[in-house]
């Protein structure tokens, strides 16, 4: 097929592209679909189930058939609608869903077996033998069905997100949208005009009728020029508003560079637009009229045929016919004649139809069949019981226009049936602040669309207190459709309703017979309206067919409800752009650079990256490294970054009282310069978090939390301060990141610190266990020192402003070499706390009480605190499981966290379960495995031999119950 005259393509430039490897050309302004058509390519794909040859059906985003794969390698994008792909130089497109060539698809055999693929076939077939389903039937069906294939590789393109705010969002840049944008922008209101097309104008671009006696493109150019000159208006082309969300938030996908050759720096942007008001001017989608074998390439929507001729200067065939039930079909015939395309005839189902031009008219006739293997060759026209074949290479079908009400029902408003116009109109209870205009509101003529767009903008802005005057609008056509409903042509053959999902009138009839009559059931039984087009060209017709079968009206039969997205949105775009290492924030400790330089192995702890262990040359296994770090700490001095523990600065006259209420134990009585271990309970009395609390001054405390709960405890404390006890004078702020905190533990800890403090007395008398102080180090750097121990050794934690943490770490290791200074990571930290019997996240799992931890007395009865009363309720107070230590009877056996505890010789089931192991580790100090766990009546069972069962690994280990303090139970080391 050669090009027609006119059109909105730039013939001065030629673009090269390929389809299934065949080199073709087109022009700027073309879509892939129009360029394919201009090259005589009508067969572009195979259908979903039956692998029937399929062509281009529409000229817009509603396209059900012309789905192709664009690009190659990791950039290959399946299921792309050729009708919305803007042609660019070097574009590579391939057809999909066929085995062998597109013309000789081996799976076309499915079409012969179509009786087996009727509605609900996969619910009924392949039922036996049952075990064949997973291994054979399902993979086979999945292979045969479906459309495109994903590349299976990570998406290499860049995606972005953004946020926009406006007074009025105008969705759609056709007649109504342009009128709305002009009306609103002239008031000075902040307006965004978004359109999915690459060119503003909507249906104007596809039509020939003049505006004020001039071509519509002249008027659009004037409007665009004015809009572009207004700083308060933002035009967003290639942008689909795909969803309406709560509180005036609209989702929009901008295809930034999909129309450009080669990989771009940014492919798409997902915008979240907060609009005070919006005008939906999304236009209308033409509907077709199902007849037997209506799915051949060349059978198209009549309005699309017109769009291809007028906008893209191309027709699918030299001789075309029109099948219509309204006047709009005749308009297509006239426009095609105007482009010198032969019109074989207009088949009008209305008995009294009149020809509006020089073409054969078949009034009161219908199309009852078609011929042509890979493309239409002829249609059968039946009138008054007489059938004749009419040769034509394409058929335009016009069954009326469905308003694009989709976004108006995203908040579950149901579209309303207009019996006179035979269309669903937008629901009256649509999203708040959304006004519908133009063809989307049923105002289909150009004059009505312009008028309603301007009025919608006026009404929308009136709610914002803006006085709006309506603009002068151009004179133009104001014709109605004079539609006489014809929803399908009855007959024996298969008449497709939903092309994308291969749903026919027969499938709907079968659904009816099988009592799948409500539209929701119809949809699931037949897959109607699913997949990429979401039934834009099928749903209303299917409803009407079902209504006919049930003898009900269309609104009685039901309505379809629409959900976002309006058109497909790539997950990469929804993901917001960042993936891999940048998918979520990554927090680094102040000593990260130093640790990385030492070759530390890091572990993710929430968002933090912490040094897990520091392997040295010659160490072949992580255990070897960890054992060395533990022993070096217990023998000399170990150094560990513990910055990740949460820190909350608490000040105010009532700081002590506030902490008394937040902590289960008393903090108000803590002496200045001292630290106390504290326990926080949840409201329900279960232990929430633990840590230390230091009193730096009379009205100044520093609370530490576990790493995991740093955020939630700070938030909880703010809630207590602001909402529970606003009368207290207390001020809070997080200082977790502000201070680098480094644990220095081991018998040589004091000697090491003496080398950096500025004349500070570290003796046991001056600075005893659980003391804290502000001081300076290294010749004047402000620091905080806490004598606390997680390892059970003589230990301190020293804090400096975070920027100095890295240098301090390096300094300590360097000047402590003779003292055996050894950096250790979270693994050694974990081993040492288990050896010492300190509870951590494994024990504080949200199910344990203070009593279970052996800390029941910490819940003070002299004061009230959050969770105190609830901790004494019977269900918790009667809890008998308590924390114990466990060691294997055979020192070679492991102690596995998660294993459950049973009496030796007892049957092992939930009734005999006596507890579980929370933590397990190899203790290099003891030379065998140890563990912590909660055991029924554990305190009274020291020395008893019990069984740890790990059925997941078929493991049963005899363990002996011990004190949880495997090392220095009297605490002499830490007080040394």
């Amino acid at each position: 097929m050669t090009r027609l005259s006119g059109g909105l393509i730039d013939r001065s430039r030629t673009l090269r592209f390929s389809f299934n490897g065949q080199a073709l050309t087109g022009h700027p302004g073309d879509t892939l679909a129009s360029a394919l058509m201009a090259n005589g390519v009508l067969l572009v794909g195979r259908s979903f189930k039956y692998h029937r040859p399929r062509g281009i059906f529409t000229a817009g985003s509603e396209e059900p058939n012309a789905l192709v794969e664009i690009g190659s390698g990791a950039r290959a994008e399946p299921n792309t609608r050729a009708t919305v792909v803007e042609l660019f130089d070097g574009l590579q497109a391939r057809s999909q869903n066929h085995v062998g060539s597109l013309k000789r698809d081996l799976l076309a055999v499915n079409d012969w077996f179509s009786p087996f693929f009727a509605a609900g076939f996969y619910y009924k077939t392949f039922m036996w033998p049952q075990k064949f389903w997973e291994k054979f039937y399902e993979p086979a069906i999945r292979h045969a069905a479906g459309l495109g294939r994903l590349s299976g590789e990570p998406d290499p393109d860049a995606y972005d997100k953004g946020f926009l705010h406006c007074d009025l969002l105008v969705i759609g840049g056709g007649a109504a949208g342009l009128a709305a944008a002009l009306t609103a922008a002239r008031t000075g209101a902040r307006v965004i005009l978004a359109d999915e097309d690459f060119r503003l104008g909507g249906r104007f671009l596809a039509e020939t009728h003049p505006l004020d006696d001039a071509p519509a493109t002249d008027w659009i150019a004037g409007a665009e020029a004015e809009l572009s000159s207004l700083p308060n208006l933002r035009i967003m082309r290639r942008t689909t508003v795909y969803g309406v969300f709560d509180s005036g938030v609209y989702g929009a996908l901008e295809r930034v560079s999909d129309h450009l050759p080669g990989p771009a720096k940014l492919r798409q942007t997902l915008w979240r637009i907060t609009a005070r008001r919006a005008v939906l001017a999304a236009g209308a989608t033409e509907r077709h009229i199902p007849f037997a074998n209506n799915d051949r390439p060349g059978v198209m929507l009549a309005g699309a045929l017109r769009a291809y001729a007028n906008r893209y200067a191309v027709a699918p065939a030299e001789r075309v016919a029109i099948f219509t039930n309204n006047d709009d079909g005749h308009r297509t015939a006239l426009d095609l004649l105007g482009k010198d395309v032969a019109v074989a005839g207009v088949i009008d189902s209305r008995a009294g139809a009149q020809a509006q031009g020089d073409y054969p008219l078949f009034a009161g006739a219908t199309v009852t069949d078609s011929k042509g293997r890979h493309g239409l060759r002829a249609v059968e026209v039946t009138a008054n019981g007489r059938a004749e074949w009419l040769d034509c290479g394409a058929l335009g079908v016009s069954g009326g226009w469905n308003p694009n009400v989709h976004l108006a029902s995203h908040h579950r408003g149901r579209p309303v049936w207009d019996e006179a116009a035979q269309v669903f109109l937008p629901p009256p209870d649509g999203p708040e602040g959304l006004f519908v205009a133009g063809a989307a509101a049923g105002h289909g003529s150009t004059a009505a669309a312009l008028r309603s767009g301007a009025e919608a903008a006026r009404d929308a802005l009136a709610g914002l207190g803006l006085d709006v005057s309506l603009p002068d609008l151009p004179r133009t056509e104001d014709a109605g459709l004079n539609l006489h409903p014809l929803w399908h042509v009855p007959g024996k053959g298969r008449a497709w309703v939903d092309f994308q999902n291969d749903v026919t009138v027969k499938d709907i009839a079968l659904s009816y017979l099988e009592n799948m009559r409500p539209v929701e059931h119809l949809k699931r039984w037949t897959t109607l309206g699913m997949a990429t087009d979401q039934g834009k060209t099928a749903n209303v017709t299917a409803l009407a067919v079902m209504a006919e079968l049930t003898g009900q009206t269309i609104p009685q039969t039901g309505t379809t409800i629409f959900r976002p997205p309006y058109t497909p949105v790539a997950l990469s775009a929804l993901g917001g752009g960042d993936n891999g290492g940048h998918f979520k924030p990554r927090r680094l400790t102040p000593t990260h650079q130093w640790a990385a330089a030492q070759g530390a192995v890091f572990v993710e702890v929430g968002q933090w990256m912490r040094a897990q262990y520091f392997p040295r040359a010659g160490e072949s296994h992580w255990r070897e490294t960890v054992d060395r770090e533990v022993l070096a700490t217990r023998k000399g001095v170990g150094i560990c970054d513990v910055t990740t523990l949460g820190k909350v600065d608490v000040q105010g006259a009532d700081a002590g009282e506030f902490l008394n209420r937040v902590y289960a134990n008393a903090m108000g009585s803590l002496k200045v310069g001292m630290v106390r271990y504290g326990l926080m309970l949840r409201e329900d009395g279960v232990v929430w978090d633990d840590g230390t609390c230091a009193r730096l001054a009379d009205t100044h405390y520093v609370v530490t939390t576990t790493t995991a709960n740093a955020g939630t405890i700070y938030r909880h404390m703010e809630f207590c301060r602001q909402c529970l006890w606003p009368e207290l004078d207390v001020q809070l702020i997080s200082t977790t990141d502000a201070w680098a905190q480094i644990a220095v533990a081991g018998p040589n800890a004091r000697r090491l610190l003496e080398r950096i403090v500025d004349g500070f007395d570290l003796s046991n008398e001056a600075f005893p266990f659980m003391a804290c102080a502000s001081l300076t180090i290294c010749g004047g750097l402000r620091a905080r020192l806490f004598r606390i121990s997680f390892s059970g050794e003589l230990a301190y934690e020293i804090a400096v402003p975070a920027r100095y943490g890295n240098a301090l770490m390096a300094r300590l290791v360097e000047i402590g070499a003779d003292l055996g200074a050894t950096p250790y990571g979270t693994e050694a930290l974990g081993v040492m706390r288990i050896e010492k019997g300190h509870a951590a996240g494994n024990e504080l799992n949200g199910q344990t009480t203070a009593q279970m931890l052996g800390l029941g007395r910490m819940v003070s009865t002299k004061k009230d605190s959050i969770g105190a009363v609830m901790s004494r309720r019977e269900g918790l107070a009667s809890e008998r499981r308590v924390l114990v230590g466990l060691e294997p009877v055979d020192p070679a056996r492991p102690v596995v966290a998660g294993a459950h505890l049973f009496a030796d010789g007892a049957e092992q089931n939930t009734d005999t379960d006596q507890g579980w192991i929370t933590s397990g580790a190899h203790s290099p100090h003891l030379g065998h495995a140890i563990g912590l766990g909660f055991l029924d009546n554990g305190a009274a069972r020291m020395g008893e031999m019990i069984v740890a069962a790990n059925p997941l690994q078929g493991q049963t280990v005899k363990v002996r119950v011990t004190s949880p303090h495997f090392i220095d139970p009297e605490g002499e080391r830490l007080r040394a």
């Binding site: 102040p590 010749g779 301090l808």
Partner: protein, 192 residues
């Protein structure tokens, strides 16, 4: 007054030898390693001080005077900024200027990035739209807000029409730098 001279070297939040900096088109992005921060919260019933003679701004506000500036962070709460004062005990200086108030050192709680435009406010507005869900009309010069950015809590401060500052938690400085640098570079690519 600076701290007594100690011998530990500070490390910029982004971890390099020097503060990070990048320029793409009209926008320059700089890690502000010299920014000292101290939170100031009034004690219950306490009078509002005027530290360094600065009138503390109201809700959503940012005010500057010489090397000191401040932005509102909540009822009776502000963050006081000391420009090029990170090397000293800034919190102590603020505390001395606000007796009776609760002052907490925050300098290294945050990593701050300054974004300046050489082409007026338009690039700043375009960048804002890519970063945070705040209507630029509500973030005019002299305004500050706490908001979400790439799953992080940040302060955004409009120091001038052509000057934006973003401060986020110091430990995530690398992520914040990545997000800002990527956004700035993409704007430049889009403009090209």
């Amino acid at each position: 007054m600076p701290d007594r001279v100690h011998d530990l070297s500070p490390l910029p939040a982004t971890g390099g030898a020097a503060p990070a900096t990048a320029r793409h088109g009209a926008l320059t992005l700089t890690e502000n390693d010299g920014l000292a921060l101290a939170s100031l919260a009034l004690r219950r019933g306490g009078a509002q001080p005027a530290p360094f003679g600065l009138t503390l701004p109201g809700p959503g506000g940012w005010a500057a005077q010489g090397e000191i500036s401040a932005f509102w962070t909540g009822p009776d709460q502000w963050m006081i900024e000391g420009h090029r004062l990170a090397g000293m005990d800034f919190a102590a200086r603020v505390a001395a200027e606000a007796s009776g108030a609760s002052v907490t050192e925050q300098t290294d709680g945050f990593a701050a990035f300054e974004i300046r435009s050489s082409a007026g406010e338009a690039p700043i507005l375009a960048l804002l739209a890519k970063l945070v869900n705040i209507d630029p009309a509500n973030l005019a010069s002299g305004r500050a807000a706490r908001t979400g950015l790439h799953h992080m809590s940040v302060f955004v401060i409009r120091r001038a029409p052509d000057h934006l500052a973003v401060a986020g938690m110091r430990s995530a400085a690398g992520t914040l730098w990545h997000v800002l640098e990527t956004a700035v570079a993409r704007l430049d690519a889009a403009a090209a």
